[in-house]
């Protein structure tokens, strides 16, 4: 996977990416997109998020903010800020959802709508967005995330160039905590000082820039981040839309799409595009991070379980024979194996069976291996954006990588095991995500 990621990123490192924006910026060469933003209690960051969508350089979009029964002032904030008025609009019933109460349209930006609906969860909100959307492709983005202005142009490129053979693409998600922002645009990118956020930055780089690039080369992408993905509406409707009874609805949909591709035959693909960037808010406290990781792991297990028939099934090609076993063994069983390792060490310690010199050397080996992967991820990031990090930021990230094995990995292991417990006991809760807003806001002049 490392080799594939290296070759892919190195190849495109010096490519002039503005050529893509200039070629596809007109509506004749592009395809219109409905941007669906499910929002639940997002009053802190929703305005900036919508501003970033309005700033997008893309010829034709509509923005659908789906207020999923928020209990804070999300709805009123959006209505007041964008001068929205109630309208009548057709709602198809391609997908079953909870009730839509009212649709509002901005009088300032007519392509921006707010949908008020009964609370039904993120999956249900996305399905409502799909029912209301008018364009053949839709983009999912979280209510607290910001897109780079050329993100849509880049992420749509595989779909446009393949004449629809690519039915879904995912973009790169990066952490934007503590960055300077104004009206939805990032003014400067800088690394957060919060050590928990810094650790997540390194983790995201490894996951996105090593894992997904390689998997995408072989059409093995099983996850498109719910924070930023593009889907063919036709394919999603045909496969039944997002499942509201599953916590990891984003992964489950992608797996279902792969299944549909194989069952229909044909050459359709799902790809990951490293260039476009979605900036998102990472949890800044242990409690929120814990809920997030628990939910992610539970979602992973649910998605794999629902489609377990695909595992090692030649009917599903490389997805069944390679991707599924990889996700089961490495991602799903990984925490259990890791736990087994810790238990074994503890037992061995009490039995006096530990060969201390070897144990310490192995520990050192794993630490340095982890640091190496982190440095590689940083290098990949530099190639991807053709911008090398400041030495001070580089040193901070490397230092954080050294400490990962002592606190971050054990913690995420415990949280994933909690996710396993929730999965086995069929508990379904999203938990509360505390929003602080992505960045330092510029005060008005």
């Amino acid at each position: 996977m490392l080799t594939v990621a290296v070759l892919r990123l190195q190849k495109k490192q010096l490519l002039d990416k503005t050529e893509i924006t200039e070629q596809y910026i007109n509506s004749f060469n592009s395809k219109p997109i409905s941007i669906i933003v499910p929002a639940y209690n997002e009053e802190v960051g929703i305005i900036d998020s919508i501003h970033s969508l309005l700033n997008l350089r893309y010829p034709e979009t509509e923005i659908l903010v789906i207020n999923d029964g928020s209990t804070d002032h999300t709805q009123q904030v959006v209505i007041d800020y964008f001068k929205m008025v109630p309208i009548q609009r057709e709602i198809r019933t391609d997908l079953m959802t909870t009730n839509v109460v009212q649709i509002y349209q901005s009088t300032i930006h007519p392509n921006c709508l707010l949908v008020e609906k009964e609370n039904g969860g993120k999956a249900d909100a996305l399905n409502v967005g799909i029912n209301i959307s008018k364009y053949p492709y839709f983009c999912t983005i979280d209510g607290d995330s910001l897109l780079d202005e050329t993100s849509l142009l880049h992420v749509m490129q595989p779909i446009i160039l393949s004449d629809g053979e690519v039915i879904a693409t995912g973009g790169n998600v990066r952490i934007a905590n503590d960055m300077h922002m104004r009206l939805g645009s990032l003014l400067s990118t800088q690394i957060s000082k919060n050590y928990l956020v810094l650790m997540q930055i390194v983790e995201y780089l490894r996951a996105f820039l090593m894992g997904r690039i390689a998997l995408s080369e072989f059409n093995l992408v099983l996850i498109i981040s719910g924070a930023f993905g593009i889907f063919s509406k036709k394919w999603v409707i045909e496969t039944g839309g997002y499942r509201a009874d599953i916590i990891g609805e984003d992964m489950e949909l992608v797996v279902r799409l792969h299944r549909a591709i194989r069952e229909k035959g044909g050459k359709h693909r799902i790809e990951f595009v490293p260039e476009p960037v979605c900036w998102t808010e990472a949890p800044q406290s242990f409690s929120v991070l814990r809920r997030q990781r628990r939910r992610w792991y539970q979602g992973l297990l649910e998605s794999l379980t629902v489609h377990i028939k695909m595992a090692l099934n030649p009917k599903y090609g490389r997805i069944g024979l390679i991707a599924f076993p990889y996700f089961i063994i490495v991602e799903a069983l990984g925490p259990i194996i890791e736990l087994g390792g810790y238990i074994y060490m503890i037992i061995a310690f009490f039995l006096g069976e530990i060969y201390y010199e070897m144990a310490l050397l192995m520990l050192l080996l794993f630490i340095i291996y982890g640091v190496l992967l982190s440095i590689l991820a940083i290098l990949f990031e530099a190639w991807s954006v053709n911008q090398y990090p400041k030495i001070s930021n580089l040193l901070r990230m490397i230092l954080m990588s050294f400490t990962e094995i002592f606190w971050y990995r054990p913690l995420t292991l415990i949280w994933r095991l909690e996710g396993l417990f929730h999965f086995l006991t069929k508990k379904k809760e999203w938990g509360q995500m505390e929003r602080k807003g992505i960045s330092k806001k510029e005060t008005s002049a």
Partner: protein, 341 residues
């Protein structure tokens, strides 16, 4: 020392060296990047106003504009591209093209055979952007080195711009098939004469090129081109027929209703839908019987099209009246709900 411990120590040593090596690459690259950026910024500050004077104010060309180093060339490229992308002016384009031919051609010739794919691609982009027709022959001579599909497309695009006489025969004989989007990008830049020529060779074109040609013709919204699209309505390929109908709908004219009536009974719902869309360009007397037929269509998109297109004409009420008499059926599947207070 125990062999196992020795092995682990060697592994640790190799990993540490690799880490230091990568750290070194990142650090060195950062400083190199900073140095390059300083050179580019210096060139930009020195020449920003001079470029404006030369390109916009029509001042005399000054030798200070000629970039001396690779970084200055990159800075000059950025400046020139921003003019090309933001100002549509043939005089400015000509000056930029003249400058690039005179002072950047040698650089681009070297870059065209660079070992790195991204540099070769950038060079091909610049040949198109700066209209470097003096490099076309060199491009074609080195085509063997430009092997990837992206490069082949760019060379194809360059030939469509600068070798028009030989381009059309090439289009019909080329082994490589591009995507419809890629053909669109080429055809949209062609002049009328070339497009007419292509239409005469329609059947010889690859399928993607056929679809792209129809889209380009439709996009031009030229009433005089409708007869080309009408000629495609008898094509064997349903996709061609549907796109031709769609193109006629976009242009907004029915010259001969009899040409589209056979599609009323088509087994392909998309063709019937396009007829529904086209009927709004006919007079009510002409089209009413066909409206009724389509309003009874089992496909809800077609019924909805009739309702949407004709609601202002109160046709829907009339059709509903006829429906009460059992002539027209109401849509029952996939309800279209109009919500709001």
């Amino acid at each position: 020392m125990n062999i196992t411990i020795l092995t682990v120590l060697y592994c640790i040593g190799i990993l540490v060296l690799f880490c230091l090596f990568l750290f070194g690459i990142l650090a060195i690259r950062y400083f190199i990047q900073m140095r390059h950026q300083r050179v580019m910024d210096k060139y930009y500050k020195k020449t920003e106003q001079l470029w404006f004077n030369y390109l916009i104010e029509d001042s005399q060309f000054t030798l200070k504009l000629i970039p001396k180093t690779t970084n200055e060339i990159k800075s000059a490229e950025n400046i020139l591209l921003s003019y090309i992308n933001n100002i549509s002016d043939e005089a400015i384009q000509s000056k930029i093209s003249f400058f690039a031919k005179a002072y950047l051609s040698n650089y681009y010739m070297k870059m065209l055979t660079h070992r790195r794919w991204s540099i070769r691609m950038n060079t091909l982009y610049r040949i198109v952007d700066f209209r470097l027709d003096n490099l076309v022959d060199y491009c074609l001579e080195n085509q063997a080195k430009l092997k990837t599909s992206n490069e082949q497309f760019q060379v194809f695009k360059i030939q469509s711009m600068f070798r028009k006489e030989s381009f059309i025969p090439l289009l019909t004989t080329l082994q490589t098939i591009f995507s419809e989007t890629e053909y669109r990008q080429i055809f949209i830049e062609m002049d009328e004469e070339m497009l007419e020529c292509l239409f005469h060779l329609f059947e010889q074109l690859p399928k993607n090129a056929q679809y792209a040609l129809i889209e380009v013709f439709s996009n031009k919204v030229d009433f005089e081109k409708v007869h080309h699209l009408e000629g495609l309505l008898v094509n064997e390929d349903a996709e061609v027929r549907i796109r031709a109908l769609k193109g006629m709908e976009r242009i907004g004219v029915i010259q001969d209703l009899n040409l589209i009536l056979p599609f009323l009974k088509s087994s392909i719902w998309e063709e019937r839908l396009m007829v529904a869309k086209l009927l709004k360009y006919g007079t009510l007397d002409q089209v009413e019987p066909y409206l009724i037929e389509l309003f009874n269509d089992p496909n809800n998109y077609i019924q909805k099209e009739i309702m949407t297109a004709f609601k202002k004409e109160k046709i829907v009420e009339q059709l509903n009246e006829k429906s009460a008499k059992g002539i027209v059926n109401q849509p029952t599947k996939q309800q279209f709900v109009l919500e709001g207070h």
